[in-house]
Subunit: 804 residues, 2 copies
C-alpha cells in the first residue's frame, strides 16, 4: 500500500525508502565529518551565540572527550561493514537481488542493512566479565517481490566485517514470537500499481469530484486532490480490502493533508497481485453507503442531493506567525545560556556520554530511533537499555478511514524521520549535537545534528529549607538528550533527562498537525473544529522498554500501597482508629505482571534487588512513577489492530528478560495484524519474576480529542506524557547535596552571612549575546553516502533536501 | 496547645503571633519602601547580574508600570486603615482588650487585623458594572481568654477607614457553615501553662531520660531535648487529651527536630484551665503501654529492659553541601538570563500584573498566602479567583504521635511563613519581586521579595512541524508568579504559570525536612531510613479554589469520556467493529459534583459556557486536567480530623458560587474537628450547577512514603503536583501562533531560507554576566511597622530576623 495516509508530503521520501527510486539527482558534494558536530559552517555556531574571555569559572569549553570505556556495540555498522554486507548480499545468487534504483515491483531488493543489536547475555559477558565482544551481524530486511506472494524477509548476515567463507546469512526468527522464518507478507508490494488503480478511478469520476468540489485527482501534475488509504488495510477473511478517501491538496504548499479530508470514501478489494482482479465494492458520502459508482453518480445527479461543505486553506491551517502580536512580544525574551561551557563529556565516535555521576551509550535504529544503553549512576548500572519500542495512534470515527486508522509508526520508522534539530528552538542554543544515520537503497543517509544534548537550569530549585536562623537552596541543573521524529503529520519529541538526585525522566511531547475527520454526523467522535473538520478522537500509546539492572540483574518488582484501615493500638485505650497503613507485595510471576497505575496514585512501583539491602535492611531500588499523564488504549480487542499492539492494553508490564524478546513490536506487525510477527502477549508465560533479570515495558501517551486549540498544530505544553525513575532507598541520602551549586544564608540582624561552598562572588564574564539565533541557514538536510558500489577511499557523498 | 509540633524552631515566632510577647528588642531602623522592590541595597541587584548597552532589542528594562484599571480590592488594608481599626477596637470597652505585649493567658487580645475579602457579588458590581466599590471591612480575630471558656472570635470591623459613629463591629458568621457567632473554642489558650506542665514532668523523670538517652528536658536553657505535642489534639468525649513525645535538640543548631524523635510518649488530659486538675494517663515505649510513670520507671530499672537506639546528628541530617562533588560540578552551570529586560508590566502598589494577553491582581492573606484575582485572558475574565484554601498533611503510624498527626496548615498560616525568596535560586536571577505583609501583635510584618515574577524559556518549544519542504518551531516562553511558605519542617513552593497557548498551570512542590517516626515495630507505616528513624507515611492534600468565569458567570461542567464500544456502521458490511467513541455528560447538580480523575485519564473535565458557542457550535471553555500527580486523602473518615477537612476526600468538587462560601476551610478547624467552623460537606445541598456561577475546588498533593532519598530534605523534582487549565474550543485556533519568537526554515538544496518574522539576525548585546549570585547578604528578614500606637508621619519601623 502506498503510505500516503501517514506522510503524504513526505511520500517522495517513502518512495525512496520502499526502494523504487532514490531521486538522487546529482548535487554539489559537501564536506562532511562523519563524527558529527563539526560539519562545515557549524563549528562557529555555538561561539556565535556568545563568547567570552572572562575570569574564574567562565570560558567557553566544548564537552570533554573522555573516551568510552568500551566501544559502542549498539552504535551501528561502520561504513565498511555495511558496504561489505551489501556487496556480499548481491553475490548470493539465491537471493536474486536487484539494486534498488533499478528494481521494479517484481524484483527483490534490500530494504534495510543495519546493526543487529547483540544479545544482552553476550554483551554482559563482554562488558562485565571481559569476555570477547559479541560477533557483529547485520540485520537485513529484504523486499521479496519476485513472487506471487511478496513478503518481507528478516535475515542476519555475519559475522562482520565480511570474510568470505565465514560470513553467512540466516533467517532472523529467534527474536520473533511468530516462527515463520522471519517472513511476513508484504501488503505494500504493489503500491505503484495501486496508486495507478485509484488514480484511474479518480479520472473515471472526475465529473463527480468536479461537481462536489471543483477538484480532480487523476495522477496528473495538476491534480488538486489526492487519494489516501487507511492504515492498516483491512485483512479479514484472507482478503485485502482498503478504504480510501479524497484529500484536498493545499493551495499554498502547506503540509495540511491530514486536515483536508473531503468526505467521500470508497472501498476496494486489492487482493492478489493482478490488478485486473481488483474491484471497488462501495462508496460512502454523508453517511450513505452506495454499492456502485453508478448508484452514487445517480444520487449526486438527483435534484436535492445534499452537497456538504469542505475545507479550504486559510490562516487557520498555516504554521506561520499570525494574528495580533501580544504586547512586548517583539522584545528579546529570556533565554538559557551556558557561560561556563559544557560540563559533560562526549565521545562523539562512540556516542558515549558522561554527565556528573551518570554515563550511557546512545544507540540508533531505523525502527525506533534513539535508545540509551548501559546507563550507569555512580559507577553502577541501573538500566541496561531504555528506549522506544513502538507508537500507536488509534483513531475512531463514523467514517471508515478514521474508524480503521491505527498507525503503528515503526513501520515508517522513527530513525529516518529524526530530522536535524533547530538550534535555539528545539534545544537551547548552546546544546551539543550528534548525528544519526539510517540505510536507504544502498546508501546511508545521515541526519546531522539530529540528537541534542544539553544541561539546563530548571525554573525551580532542587531543594530548599528556611528556618528561623537560615535558608538553604540548591540549584536544579539537569541534563537532557533529545531527538524529534516527524512521522507524517505528527512531531514526537523524545527527551531523556538526568537529575542530580539520581532520577531519570522519560518524556514524549507531540506537536504538528492533527489528523482530522471530515465533519459529518460524527459528534460522537470529536468536536467540530473547523468548517468541515471534526477533531477526530484518537489514542496515542507509546511503548517504552526499560531494562532495569539494580545492583545486578537479579531484581524484583515491589509494590507499596497506601490502604485505609481501622486499627486498635496498645495505646489507643481499646478505641479503633480510622487511619491508613502500607500494604507491600512483590510481583513474583508473569501471571500478575500486567497492570495499570493505581487510582489516586495509591500504589508505588519499585524495581529493587531484594538481595542488595542498605544498612537499614531496605532493598535498594528505583521507583517508577508517572511524571505526567500516561495512557493505555481505550479500545478493547480492536478490530483495526487485533494482536498487533497487545503491549498497549496496560500501563505497565513486566517480563523476565530473554535474548529472544528484545522488542515488544515489529515494524511489520501492521502487515498481519491477526498473527503479527511479534505478539507481545506471547511474552507472558508464567515465568518467575522473583529476583530475575526483569524488563519493564511501560506506556506513555494521551487520549487526544482535538479541539480548536489544536489548530493549526497541537502544542507541546498540553500533549505531554512522562515517567520518572527515582532512586528508592538506593543510597543512604539525597545525592543532590553533593553539588556546590547551592547557597546557605544565615540571618544576622538585617543582613545575611552567605555560605557559597567555594563559589567566588565578583567574577564576571563579558558575553556577546545574540538575541536572534544565527546561522540557521546552515540547516541542510540529509547527507547521503552510497554503500553500493562503495569506495572507502572516495565515498560518494552528497546532500539532499529532507526526504530526498 | 503550643505548636511545637509544627514548627519547633520557629516557636519564638509563634509565641509572637499568639500574642504573648513580640520580643521586639530595639534594632536599627532601616529605610524601607512599602511599595517593595526598591528596598535599599536591592536596586542594583538585577543590574549586577548583567547589564548591557547593545543594539536593537537588547537593553535592560524594568517592568512597565501600566496602572491597574481599578484599585486592588483584595490587596490588603492600608497602614491607616489597619491602625485605625486597631485603635478603634481598643476603644470598645465590651471587648476588654489588652495590648498583646502585656497580655497574659487570661487577657483578651487581637490576633489578626486584615482585609475582609469583599463578596464576589459586590466586586462584580464594581468592576463589571461600575457600581460603587464595596465597603471595606477588617477581618479581626480576637483571642478571648478572660473567661473559663477561651475562644477565638472572628468579627468584622468597618466600614473603613474608621469613622466614629459609622464604624461598628459584628460577629463574622455568614461565611462559615457553623453558626456560632464566629466563635470557636481555643484549645491553645494555656500553652505556656501546658509547657510548664510537661517540662515539670520532664524534670520529674530526668532519671529516666538520662538513663535512656543521657539527655534532659526541664524547661532550662541547657535542655538537650524538648517535648512535642500532637496536632490536632484529642477532642473525644469532651476531654482534651494530648499525646506528647520527646525530641532530641540538634547539637549543631540544625532544624532537625522533625526527624529526631526519641521513642517515648505520654498522654495527658489537659481539659479545663486549671492545671492542677490535669493528669498524665499513660506512657508508651517500644510498643508497650504503661499506666503510670512508676510502672515505666520500674520497667526501665528491671534488668534486661530493652533500650532502643536513638538518632544522633551527622552529615545525614545536614542541609549543607556534602559528599563527593561530581565531575565538572564546580564549573559555572547554565543559567537563564533576560537580556531584553522584563516584558511584562507591574503596578507595584496595586499588585496588578500584565503579561502578554494575560492580566491579574495579587491578593495575600494570613491564612492562605498568595491568591490571584480577576485573571483575564485577551480582555475577558477566565478566573475570578485562584488560590490555596488549606493544606492537610495526614500521617499514620503505630505510635500515637504519627497516628494522630494531621496538620491543617492554615492554622499556622501560609502568609506569615512566606519568607523572602533567594534570588537566583528560588527564582531566576532576573525575577521581579513583590512584598507581602501580615499582622502580628499590633504590628504589620513585611516579608520583602517574598513573591517573585519571571518569564522563562522552557527547555522545549511550544510547537513544531517538519515537512519535506520546511520546518517551523516556536519558542515556549511562559510567565510564572511564585511564593514559598515554610510551615515548620516543610517548604511549599506555589507556582502559577501562564503560557502563550492560553493555558495556566497551578503547581506545588514540597521540600524541607520530612517528619519521621521513631523506628520501632512500624514497618507497616514506612521504610527504615536511618538508625532509629522510620519515614513516616503521610498524605499531602492541598485544596485549591478555582472560581472560573468563562464568558461570564453562567457556566457548566462538562465531561467528555472515551469509552470502548462495539458499533456497526452503514459501511461496515454488517460487521460489528470494536472501537471507541465519546460519551458526553454535564454535571448539573451538586449531588453529582464530587469526583475523582478517571482511571486511564479517560474523562476530560471542561468548564464551559453552553450559551457562548463558537462559530462551529462548540461551547467555549477551559479544560482542567492533572499536569502531574495529584492526590486525595487515603484515610476514610479519619479519627484525627473527623469533619475538619472534608474537602480532602475527592480530587475535584464543584459548587455553586455563594458569597457565603468563599473558602473551603477555616484556620481554626483543628480546634473542633468534629464540628468545625467550616464543614465543606455543608456546601453540597443539591443546587443546580447548570449554567450557574461555579467554583471548582480541586486537590493537589502526593502520598508520601519517605525513603532515604528524602534525607536530609525531600527534593522538589519528586514532590510535585500540578493542574493545568487549557483553553478548550475557546478561541478558533492556537493563540501561540501570535508570537514572533518562532522561525521557519525552508530547505533549498543544502541550505535553508530562514523566515524570522521580523527578528534581526546579527544584533548582539554585550553582557557582563556574573556566574555567582551577588548581594545575597542583603537578605534581611521581616520589616515590622507598629500599628498601635501608630503615627502615620513617623511610623515605627524595624527589621527583625525571620521569626523575630
Amino acid at each position: 500500500m502506498f503510505r500516503s495516509a501517514r506522510f503524504p508530503v513526505l511520500a517522495l521520501y517513502l518512495v525512496g525508502f520502499l526502494s523504487t527510486s532514490v531521486c538522487a539527482a546529482p548535487q554539489p558534494v559537501h564536506s562532511y565529518d562523519p563524527a558529527g558536530r563539526s560539519k562545515k559552517g557549524h563549528v562557529g555556531r555555538r561561539g556565535a551565540k556568545y563568547w567570552q574571555n572572562g575570569t574564574a569559572n567562565c570560558g567557553t569549553q566544548a564537552p570533554l572527550a573522555n573516551p568510552a570505556p568500551y566501544s559502542n556495540i549498539w552504535g551501528g555498522l561502520s561504513d565498511v561493514e555495511a558496504a561489505g554486507a551489501v556487496e556480499w548480499l548481491f553475490q548470493q545468487a539465491e537471493l536474486n537481488l536487484t539494486v534498488s534504483e533499478s528494481s521494479s515491483e517484481w524484483d527483490n531488493s534490500i530494504l534495510l542493512v543495519e546493526l543487529m543489536i547483540p544479545n544482552k547475555t553476550d554483551v554482559l559477558a563482554y562488558i562485565d566479565r571481559r569476555e570477547p565482544a559479541p560477533a557483529r551481524y547485520a540485520h537485513v530486511v529484504l523486499n521479496v517481490r519476485a513472487t506471487e506472494n511478496p513478503h518481507y524477509a528478516d535475515i542476519l548476515v555475519g559475522p562482520l566485517p565480511v570474510q568470505n567463507g565465514t560470513t553467512k546469512w540466516v533467517p532472523l526468527e529467534y527474536t520473533y514470537t511468530r516462527k515463520t522464518q522471519g517472513r511476513v507478507r508484504n501488503l505494500d508490494a504493489d503500491s505503484l500499481q495501486q496508486r495507478t488503480f485509484v488514480n484511474n478511478l479518480g479520472a473515471e469520476i472526475q465529473d463527480i469530484t468536479l461537481g462536489l468540489w471543483n477538484m480532480t485527482v487523476m495522477g496528473l501534475a495538476n491534480d488538486t486532490m489526492f487519494i489516501w488509504a487507511v492504515d492498516p488495510v483491512g485483512q479479514d477473511d484472507g482478503r485485502v480490502t482498503v478504504w480510501f478517501t479524497f484529500i484536498k491538496i493545499s493551495d499554498k504548499g502547506w503540509d495540511t493533508n491530514s486536515i483536508m479530508p473531503a468526505g467521500l470514501y470508497f472501498v476496494a478489494d486489492l487482493t492478489g497481485r493482478d490488478s485486473s482482479k481488483w474491484s471497488v465494492n462501495g462508496w460512502l458520502y454523508n453517511d450513505i453507503f452506495y454499492n456502485t459508482i453508478e448508484d452514487f453518480r445517480a444520487a449526486v445527479n438527483t435534484p436535492g442531493f445534499e452537497k456538504l461543505p469542505f475545507n479550504i486553506d486559510g490562516e487557520w491551517d498555516s504554521v506561520d506567525h499570525q494574528g495580533s502580536t501580544p504586547p512586548q512580544d517583539t522584545r528579546t525574551p529570556p533565554a538559557a545560556i551556558a557561560p561556563g561551557g559544557d560540563r559533560y563529556s562526549v565521545d562523539v565516535v562512540q556516542k558515549y556520554i558522561e554527565w556528573m555521576d551518570f554515563s550511557f551509550y546512545v544507540g540508533f535504529s531505523r525502527d525506533t530511533g534513539m535508545a540509551l544503553y548501559d546507563i550507569k549512576y555512580k559507577g553502577e548500572r541501573v538500566l541496561y537499555e531504555l528506549g522506544l519500542q513502538e507508537a500507536l495512534a488509534h483513531y475512531a470515527g463514523n467514517d471508515p478511514i478514521q474508524s480503521g486508522t491505527a498507525y503503528l509508526d515503526s513501520f515508517y520508522g522513527f530513525g529516518p524521520y529524526a530530522f536535524e534539530l533547530v538550534q535555539g528552538y528545539d534545544c537551547p542554543s548552546y546544546a551539543t549535537y550528534l548525528n544519526s544515520s539510517f540505510y536507504v537503497s544502498e546508501t546511508t543517509h545521515t541526519h546531522v545534528n539530529s540528537i541534542c544534548l544539553f544541561e539546563f537550569d530548571a525554573d525551580y530549585p532542587m531543594a530548599r529549607h528556611s528556618t528561623a536562623d537560615n535558608v538553604m537552596v540548591s540549584k536544579n541543573i539537569y541534563f537532557t538528550i533529545r531527538s524529534v521524529s516527524t512521522i507524517g503529520n505528527y512531531d514526537y519529541m523524545f527527551s531523556y533527562s538526568f537529575y542530580m538526585d539520581g532520577s531519570i525522566n522519560v518524556e514524549v511531547r507531540a506537536s504538528g498537525y492533527i489528523q482530522g475527520a471530515f465533519y459529518a454526523n460524527n459528534e460522537d467522535y470529536g468536536f467540530h473544529i473547523h468548517d468541515a473538520l471534526s477533531g477526530s478522537m484518537h489514542d496515542h500509546v507509546l511503548n517504552i522498554k526499560a531494562d532495569f539492572d539494580i545492583a545486578g540483574t537479579a531484581n524484583t518488582v515491589r509494590t507499596i500501597s497506601n490502604v485505609a484501615t481501622q486499627e486498635t493500638y496498645p495505646w489507643s485505650f481499646n478505641k479503633t482508629r480510622n487511619t491508613m497503613k502500607l500494604s507491600r507485595a512483590d510481583i513474583t510471576n508473569e501471571d500478575h505482571s500486567r497492570f495499570n497505575w493505581a487510582a489516586n496514585g495509591l500504589t508505588q512501583v519499585v524495581i529493587a534487588n531484594k538481595n542488595s539491602t542498605n544498612k537499614f535492611g531496605e532493598a535498594r531500588g528505583y521507583r517508577v512513577a508517572p511524571l505526567s499523564g500516561t495512557a493505555h488504549l481505550t479500545v478493547e480487542d480492536s478490530s483495526s489492530i487485533a494482536n498487533a499492539a497487545n503491549w498497549a492494553n496496560h500501563d505497565v508490564q513486566i517480563t523476565r528478560q530473554h535474548d529472544t524478546e528484545p522488542r515488544s513490536a515489529h515494524a511489520y506487525n501492521s502487515q498481519d495484524v491477526a498473527d503479527p510477527v511479534i505478539d507481545f502477549n506471547a511474552f507472558f508465560n508464567s515465568e518467575s519474576l522473583d529476583q530475575e533479570d526483569l524488563v519493564m515495558w511501560f506506556n506513555l501517551g494521551m487520549h487526544h480529542v482535538p479541539h480548536t486549540g489544536d489548530l493549526p498544530n497541537t502544542v507541546f505544553t498540553a500533549a505531554h506524557s512522562g515517567i520518572q525513575f527515582t532512586p528508592h532507598n538506593y543510597l543512604l541520602g539525597d545525592p543532590s547535596k553533593e553539588t556546590v551549586n547551592m547557597v546557605r544564608l544565615t540571618y544576622e540582624g538585617g543582613s545575611a552571612v552567605v555560605e557559597r561552598y567555594g563559589q567566588s562572588e565578583g567574577d564576571t564574564c563579558p558575553l556577546e549575546y545574540s538575541p536572534v539565533e544565527g546561522y540557521l541557514e546552515g540547516y541542510i538536510g540529509d547527507v547521503v553516502i552510497r554503500k553500493y558500489p562503495f569506495n572507502p577511499n572516495e565515498p560518494f557523498i552528497q546532500t539532499n533536501g529532507i526526504g530526498g
